[in-house]
């Protein structure tokens, strides 16, 4: 079965600094990968997704992610973090083994942004 690992439970960065959130997946075939952000009291919002093609994917809010098959990774990056980026970030992969195509999520990375 597929799985997603987010090694960092909590990351703290200063506003204006660059950010990289790590995501590793375990899946036999080409994975369909997603990054979602969750702010308090709000639903999960899709930042970006990768299905095929260019391995560098651009998303909303200035985020990007790079798919690296050799490392089984799909790390999320942002060159300059804003205070409003403080939230919890989830990496997910689509389970293609059944008909539901449900998402399998990592356990999340909580981002704190210092002024």
């Amino acid at each position: 079965a597929q799985s997603v690992t987010q090694p960092d439970i909590h990351i703290t960065v200063s506003e204006g600094a660059s950010l990289e959130l790590r995501c590793n997946y375990s899946y036999g075939a080409t994975p369909y990968l997603f990054w979602y952000v969750q702010s308090p009291g709000q639903g999960l919002q899709l930042l970006l997704k990768y299905f095929s093609g260019d391995t560098l994917v651009q998303g909303i809010k200035g985020f990007e992610a790079e798919f690296k098959r050799s490392q089984s990774s799909f790390n999320l990056r942002k060159p300059s973090v804003h205070w409003s980026d403080a939230a919890e970030y989830f990496c997910a992969v689509v389970d293609l083994s059944g008909s539901a195509r449900q998402l399998t999520f990592g356990s999340g990375t909580q981002l704190t942004v210092l002024p």
Partner: protein
């Protein structure tokens, strides 16, 4: 347009009671999912509807959990004889088309926080 809505936003109940959680998907979305998110964890899949039928309920933890979608739109997640371990945020998501390819974006509601005392 309107997103996925869920009611109530918070529900506190006592152990052993019955609860219903409601999800109103985005209009026109045929696929609907329920997930459960425990504290400090990512969401975990519970059940998937394609139209009115539960196409995949493999994520339901036991037979105390049941969900319906009688008219192919609004869905209700029902939990009988609640236990303290059922305390979590229950998330609903919808997507536009039958997700045969797996590429359809799932749009999430804000969730219902269930607390079982």
């Amino acid at each position: 347009g309107a997103g996925v809505s869920q009611t109530p936003s918070n529900k506190v109940t006592e152990k052993g009671k019955y609860v219903e959680l409601r999800c109103d998907p985005i209009s026109g979305h045929t696929a609907l999912y329920w997930y459960r998110q425990s504290l400090g964890q990512g969401p975990e899949f519970l059940i998937y509807f394609q139209g009115t039928g539960a196409a995949d309920d493999s994520g339901l933890p036991n037979d105390r959990f049941f969900a319906v979608r009688p008219e192919g739109s609004v869905s209700t997640l029902k939990i009988q004889r609640t236990e303290r371990g059922d305390s979590a945020v229950y998330l609903c998501a919808s997507s536009l088309t039958p997700s045969g390819s797996g590429t359809d974006t799932q749009y999430f509601g804000p969730g219902t926080r269930l607390t079982v005392l």
